[in-house]
Symmetry: C2
Subunit: 499 residues, 2 copies
């Protein structure tokens, strides 16, 4: 096979993969937003066939030869073509280790588990979800053992979401977070501020929908390329830069929950919306790792969205959409209100200071689960024990405990650390950005474009073209340093709570 | 190849077709409801690949042999298996005549045309849409010539939507409708009733959404299996009996437009929701022809939904959802209001009496278009001329004229007659149903289940298992007779307008 022939074959394959991934993505988005509840059965059949097709197209000797031929032709080919082959080879290596039946069964299993999880969460019924999670855990452990027999299974899973991540790296990372933040969290808790009266207003959902549109506009998201849906657990799913979906969840008693979901998912969306045109419809059009993806979402959500400067445009929009609810509220009061810190139950609604300890709890549980040291049936007890130990909160039921997140039901074990890593990456990016961009005066006047332009230049445009080890140091001005992240949090909350 | 081997191969094929059709359906539904506007490009790539896949799986010598083997084994196989082979063979014969590139290009063309049509309609700009329609017409004519060289091209297209339909049958059908109904329409127009004051109220869209849910419940649609979306042009799309989607379009100044869309699409939905379990995930789970499909939708919309008896439960729901708007309105006033008849511009909002003449106009235009007697650029003039001649209305712009319907943009030329045929079938079914079911007292007490049970028994349960020529006479108590339909309309509107 000549290099030219191999590239043509790879182009054909990518056309098929694009179509299959596009269809699967939309089936997931639809299934989680507007599809009828009983639709999971037919969707499972469709997704099962599509994943079988992916497997057949990718895992066969000819594809192996195609990819190797392109990889061997590195010096005679361009950067994009070579990297496409590299990323496809990574997927090839991942799928290759599993027999097709097992691969397809896993897709069908997670489709069913997602549906059951919704019900189980609603009913706060762990026993309903546990048998499916047991199968998922067993399947993930088996995958890890086949993929890298000598390596700890959890490291294999971590690497799927954050290339290069391992327990060896994450154990000290989380230890630092816990050691540095726990005293601050305790101190802040002892100075608990009352929830201001205006936060207790009623915020009609139809107004919140309008609010979301204005927030997306402020964030610089073009509605022609990205729409907002409603779902239990907010997410982002993009198929190309002209078709990205984000979702949120409305609570009548609290507009800030949805607000920060929209800004967070909007950050993910901006990453996908700003990838270079020539990477579209290839395997390089996505973000390169989940940690870097979360660095973008949490950058907009917290570093920008919960900053003092952001309160200026935010209050302006609140006054337009909710004039009665925010009458008389000042920017300072708003800043304090959106940064109330208190150990709580729900990760996605946790304040910035306590957030990463929610992640740490999941990290510890996943480690034990995959090592075989924790049985699925014992997760609720262990979850509640860790929340008591690390965050000093009592978990009243599994709905607000170990059933709150959708990740495990979708098979994503090893994903959670990405949130904490991303948060830490983001703070280092901010410091680097501040060297050349007047971040806070732009944000205060409601113009996020200098921020997005900088992030596009450093991160977004590349999609998966550049490897994390090439992207990150340039954007962060150096290697990951947990203490930069904790210092940022200590300074911010030290000021907010006059510590 | 043994019969058993052929059946196994056919099962494998059906698994693939189910998945591909499921994915394509959801991509269409999503594209028409919540997808971002610019998403058409990526969706086109995905749909193009999926249709290519269908073509490759269906049009090849092995599949031909598989289907013929099953068909030849008629005496040794069951009814369902044989009919599946028969329906797949029909599709095989359809696709077989076109080279793959042309088949795929047509899918991509209609995907693009659907997107352009939305814009063109909004801007009332025929010139924007015309080049795409020209390509669609050329492609359909070429298909018809290849499919059945000796047959008039339009007959070939009609048969795609209503098996056995032809100009020879439809010309006298529409002639009868026109001759019988035109004098009544003129007479009714001369006795024009004023629009009652309550119809001019404002009907907030968020209340209309609640109204829709109650109407779906009244119609007997299980929300676990069928959800309602919002779109420019209402439609129904089902992938199996546990996953059907209907859509509507809200107008703040008029809740009846959406009401009758919901009931109409709900009728389509009930057909798909009530198909036998053992036909699910096969090519038999759909309605058998579009005429029969429309007979169900228009049955619920008009025969039931615009009946005197239906005004009892309808007014009850209106009073719950819109107490201010319908204060003091009686059932008689409501019955008169929902049956105001007047020649108008928009087919989907036409009253029952004038409706089929809207269809006739499209039938005449399509005949001329496919025969080559009418150029695409001349459609607006000819459309407006026919509206003037047949319905005595002046078309003010193409948005309310020849750009109002989505069908042509999706490649569906030859579909429209199904609406009129379906309406006529429905009236004959009603008379047959009335022999054993106390239709009107059930409807008056808000219980549509006896109606749906009868239709399920006669029509719905079979999906595509029974051929139209076997299904229809049993449900209609005899062959199609246009005069039964016109007699029903003459009686109903004669009473309403005291002719």
């Amino acid at each position: 096979m000549t290099l030219q022939q191999a590239i043509e074959k790879m182009d054909e394959l990518e056309k098929a993969f694009y179509a299959i991934n596009h269809a699967s993505s939309i089936l997931y988005v639809d299934g989680d937003t507007v599809a009828p509840k009983n639709s999971w059965k037919g969707r499972g059949k469709a997704l099962g066939y599509l994943s079988e097709l992916t497997y057949r197209l990718l895992v066969n000797p000819e594809t192996g030869e195609v990819l190797n031929t392109v990889l061997q032709g590195k010096n005679e080919t361009d950067e994009v073509t070579f990297r496409r082959a590299e990323m496809l080879k990574k997927e090839y290596d991942e799928l290759h280790v599993l027999p097709m039946e097992e691969y397809v069964a896993f897709q069908e299993l997670t489709n069913e588990a997602s549906s059951v999880w919704h019900d189980a969460k609603e009913k706060s019924d762990w026993a309903m979800f546990a048998p499916l999670l047991e199968k998922i855990v067993a399947s993930r452990r088996r995958f890890a053992a086949l993929k890298a027999p000598g390596k700890p299974a959890y490291d294999v899973l971590l690497d799927l979401f954050e290339e290069g991540a391992s327990m060896e790296m994450l154990d000290p990372f989380f230890r630092t977070l816990r050691e540095e933040l726990s005293p601050v969290i305790r101190e802040v808790a002892s100075r608990e501020k009352p929830v201001p009266a205006f936060m207790k207003a009623s915020w009609p959902v139809d107004r919140q929908r309008i609010f979301s549109q204005k927030i997306m506009e402020l964030e610089g998201i073009d509605p022609l390329n990205c729409t907002l849906g409603e779902t239990e657990h907010p997410f982002t799913d993009g198929t190309n830069k002209w078709d990205v979906r984000i979702t949120t969840h409305y609570h009548e008693e609290d507009p800030f929950s949805s607000l920060y979901s929209v800004i967070h998912e909007g950050g993910h969306a901006l990453y996908e919306l700003d990838v270079r045109d020539d990477l579209q419809f290839t395997c390089l059009s996505d973000g390169v790792t989940m940690g870097i993806h979360e660095s973008q979402s949490r950058f907009y959500e917290n570093i920008i969205g919960r900053s003092r400067a952001f309160c200026t445009p935010l209050l302006k929009i609140l006054r337009e959409v909710f004039p009665d609810q925010v009458r008389g509220v000042t920017e300072e009061e708003l800043y304090s209100a959106i940064n109330l810190s208190k150990p709580s139950l729900i990760r996605t609604e946790a304040d910035e200071l306590t957030y990463s300890l929610h992640v740490m709890i999941r990290y510890e549980l996943e480690k034990a689960l995959i090592a075989g040291d924790l049985a699925v049936k014992d997760i609720p007890g262990e979850w509640n024990r860790l929340y008591r130990e690390i965050l000093s909160v009592e978990v009243p039921d599994d709905r607000r405990g170990c059933l709150q997140d959708s990740h495990w039901s979708g098979g994503a074990i090893g994903y959670f650390p990405s949130y904490a890593l991303g948060s830490a990456y983001g703070v280092q990016m901010l410091h680097e950005m501040e060297k050349t961009v007047d971040v806070w005066s732009a944000v205060a006047r409601g113009d996020l474009s200098p921020v997005t332009t900088w992030l596009t230049e450093k991160i977004h445009q590349y999609g998966s073209l550049r490897k994390p080890q090439d992207l990150l140091p340039a954007a962060m001005g150096g290697p990951l340093d947990a203490k930069v992240y904790t210092a940022y949090l200590k300074k911010k909350f030290g000021e907010l709570y006059s510590l």
